[in-house]
Symmetry: D2
Subunit: 344 residues, 4 copies
């Protein structure tokens, strides 16, 4: 069965497997101190255009969000997020497990507005009883968002400016960063994005790797004893090489960007197929996730041939579903989907 | 440089990489619900001799210890461990991070005695103020221990009996389980070990995998909503296939046991080399970790050719060091070590 | 200066101080095992009409909410609360500090509706990815709410029924319980309220005590080793007598209810004064908290004579403020307020 | 029955109750912002001889230890304590509940030695794998210790020096501080003690108050947003006046020191009684706690007339028990004890 269920339905990009095999029997030290981690970090610093950035590897998205947020937030603080943000909605309470509240802000198509953010922060400090509330200590946004949408450079610049005004860091969840940067609607470069925020990560799990996220601290703000902090959270991989080799491969010859671009190309074709089939879009997404409204009966039939994700109930007889392309999506996959759609 | 620094200096067993490649482009669902996870679980249940055991995969040892201990301990309870136990000594406080105390018990060569355990538990409940103390809610032991030693079947049976008497679960950390079971001194089978405890895990990271530990709940005691509990701790891998394929491979044709046996064979040869060189052993270990005492000057010279681990200071001029074999150790590695030892 | 700032601006009811003095030099055991705690528990069980209820004393409201919620929630679960609920809005993240998420539900005048609750819970389990989300494990409501409003008996019965249908406990925050039960709009008795929920508390801090909340577990559901759980959270008072004597006094000769009734009487007079002054009410509250809209200039002037609380910004020139009566409010206080209001 | 069970068997010093009554009906703001808190802080700063010290009030000892330790420790760090320290042995895991490990150090009669401390810290940083361990981030000692013993000024100076060398704060648990400072063996003043440490507290619960501990930050090191941090832990008292009035009274006319001295005088007489009765002391304690060895049969008989505390089993037929005097102990109490002892 062909699957558009998510962007992690396949294994790793073949070049990654090749490099894992090539380096497999080398004796390497553990916990990220091997030469491949070093090399990958160097390549990422170059891609980000910051020679002093601190780069660290973690295994998955929820883990990365929980580690970074809890390591950077002061004790008394919480993290501001779109109500639809992954940390607020779909991480089983991983942030709260670290003892910190997620402070939800209304969102439109996955995005918070700088006006709402400013208003929230100003009102917070205007409230006489604010010391009895959770103090906003960080802003979290996703690029692209959970709805596939993108902040414009102007929007990011404004949000970044507000964070600086209130002296709290801006953290960008880049679980799908490649799919954002390679979108035709993207108007920002990786170095520009890095400059605007204080910490972000480059998602590997959804963009060609078996697992792995590369965290980039852009302002000399990597917490002291970060390795201990990571281990304390059960997030330190013994064979750090697994992450090092993967990111070293992804950042050799622009592989990360090339395969991200491929996913976007496939997404554009997917959109065409969905449009031609006359389906109604739930959102206008310029990245690899596409959301359309199907009749519940159609869903039942389509599931026989194609895997895809339930997103949310629309009404009694209709449901929003998501189709995701990825680095691994093929023309053949699209063809199968098209045929299946024609029969429902 | 040849390395005996730990049992995770190489990548994965080649057969694992082959299977990862073979299955790489299959479309599979995430989070451990793929067919390879299912197959691996079935094979592990068979190896354990318990058709009803619940098997779950996690990524690394510290993570597994923290997830299992915190998921099984009641709120008011702590976990009893040898003072030298990994959870007490070398996990950066990962158990305490979950809000639970490690209750250290004196240990000899890494092992707690059933007499000490019984005494501790009896005295605890005899203390009138015990409700003001952390209530022992689980016993944690390692097999093999952090010193390479093994509990005998009799010892395990006694410890298990005490746990049942006090109605608390026995958890066995099997990060190096294969190296214990394949030791010439091992007098217990995997099904017997499984029967004696309530939960244990089969280490993959140190025994042929890139990462991964297989947790086995042996008494119908898998916590409700375990997936949510795992995700909440940032420990849920999106591409569960990475763990499924690896354990499916390790438990096909007894690969796990064969490669563990190889490491033991290499360890026996290593012992001979160390003995022939006239080195003094710190401990008599029947598994893959060997501890000898070197002069600090010797260490300096040996480090030029061989990587190995500092264990502990012996006196001003001597240090205990550890050499570990693994599934990946070759005759060539041993030869290199032997030569290097002859020159210090 | 006269203060209507909150319901804890005075010390304790004089009878409480008298009893503290009377019993002061008695030698009593600590941690709630003294005879006054026993007696108070017995009197509360009688008032609640449940001879088997478990009663425990804690020191303050936020502490009680955090202890009870974290002690009763399973690891994987969060607590559903009105978005305006005290645990969500004004406790500095005390629930999240225990590792659990507050799941906010839209509220009207401080109250959640049973329809919204049912919808939320049904939708939750209908969502295919709900295992990746925080599982609702308890419903928290306040009686009276943070806006002074009251659930009707019918509303409570419906909410209670939904909780039973979904097999999760209903927890009622009764920090101001007396002021709710003694309201002219209250249509439920204490035994009825106790029956409908699984755990609730009778607030002392805001109703005549120096400090103290009496938690009532109504369904044989007091967590095992509760004393240890309380101590682990730093919430166990050494001199438990301080809580025992206070609640023993409050539940002797219906003192708790009599002084609550007094506060309601004062609140009714306060409402008359505010109405006569022509002020606009923000909410129609039948309990001891009254919310009116003042011009910012009026606030400035009034503050010179009277203390009261900023509630929320209404618009650029108007603000919602709160006046609270309590067991300690006097006719004299009201007179002073009336005069001060006439001059702004 | 007369009780020597602990130092909190009576209520409050009568002068405290008198002041509570006197101020009872004043309208005061909450959460420690009232004039009595201000006045008490000022008096404590004077007693401590540090006009810039930050003083904060908390309710009990375990709570204070957990709040201060967790608020001052960095994420990656644990607190070093005597293995017999209250935080390690008798607080139900309250420190671990905040996510931090207690790092136990061997102790003699409740005291750690500066040599052991120095050795521990040096060895820690010498260990190549120390980043995988809990990093010592604070030293906790009790003055007096849980065994009633006292550090000399020289010992404290050495411990303080080591803490400064390793750049970690020294925290002194002064739950019984008065009984230490008023001991005939005490060779240090309150200002000297304050100077040597970074934070300490002056125990009220055991020294005349109904509840309350006064924390003193001596080096400008009060954590930012401390009120929020306290509230987040459920430790913020609404009626802060309860703590303010008590400490204001205790630090008026040296009441705290006078009543502490009385307890010491009573303890000296108690020692004489125990000696005259020919009982064997378990420890030579110069403060208010006295430890003697009784036959189990004697204990049984004595319990009919006197309450005292089981301390630890000595052998099959003997037990160590504790008798504590306090500010409230009377000559009459001692006489009753003496008579009871003569009959066993």
């Amino acid at each position: 069965m062909v699957s558009f269920e998510s962007d992690y339905i396949a294994g790793a990009h073949p070049e990654i497997l090749r490099r894992l095999e090539e380096t497999n029997m080398e004796h390497l030290p553990g916990y990220g101190s091997d030469r491949y981690c070093d090399s990958a970090k160097e390549k990422i610093r170059r891609a980000v255009g910051m020679e002093d950035a601190d780069v660290e590897f973690l295994t998955g998205g929820t883990q990365t969000n929980a580690v970074i947020i809890s390591a950077l937030l002061p004790d008394y603080a919480g993290v501001v997020s779109a109500v639809t943000g992954h940390v607020n909605a779909h991480e089983a309470g991983a942030i709260e497990y670290t003892g910190h509240k997620v402070l939800p802000l209304l969102a439109k198509e996955g995005k918070i507005s700088s006006a709402d953010l400013k208003c929230y922060l100003s009102d917070f400090y205007a409230d006489a009883s604010h010391e009895h509330m959770v103090i906003p200590g960080m802003v979290y946004i996703s690029y692209p968002t959970e709805y596939g949408t993108l902040y414009t450079k102007d929007e990011l610049t404004e949000i970044s400016g507000i964070c600086r005004e209130f002296e709290i860091p801006l953290f960008i969840d880049g679980a799908r960063l490649g799919y954002g940067l390679m979108s035709h609607k993207c108007d920002i470069t990786l170095p520009e994005l890095a400059e605007l925020c204080d910490v972000f990560y480059i998602g590997g799990t959804k963009v060609g790797a078996l697992c792995g996220e590369a965290v980039v601290f852009t302002k000399g703000n990597k917490p002291l004893h970060f390795l201990t902090i990571v281990k304390k959270r059960g997030a330190l991989l013994a064979k750090g090489r697994l992450l090092g080799v993967q990111f070293d491969t992804l950042f050799t010859d622009d592989l990360y960007f090339k395969i991200s671009r491929h996913a976007i190309d496939m997404a554009e074709k997917l959109k065409d197929i969905l449009k031609e089939r006359g389906l109604q879009f739930h959102i206008d997404s310029p990245t690899n996730q596409q959301f359309v409204i199907l009749e519940n009966e159609q869903i039942k039939k389509l599931r026989e041939k194609v895997a895809f994700e339930f997103w949310e109930k629309k009404d009694e007889t209709h449901t929003v579903v998501r189709f995701a392309t990825a680095w691994s999506t093929t023309e053949e996959d699209l063809k199968t989907l098209k045929e299946a759609l024609s029969r429902i």
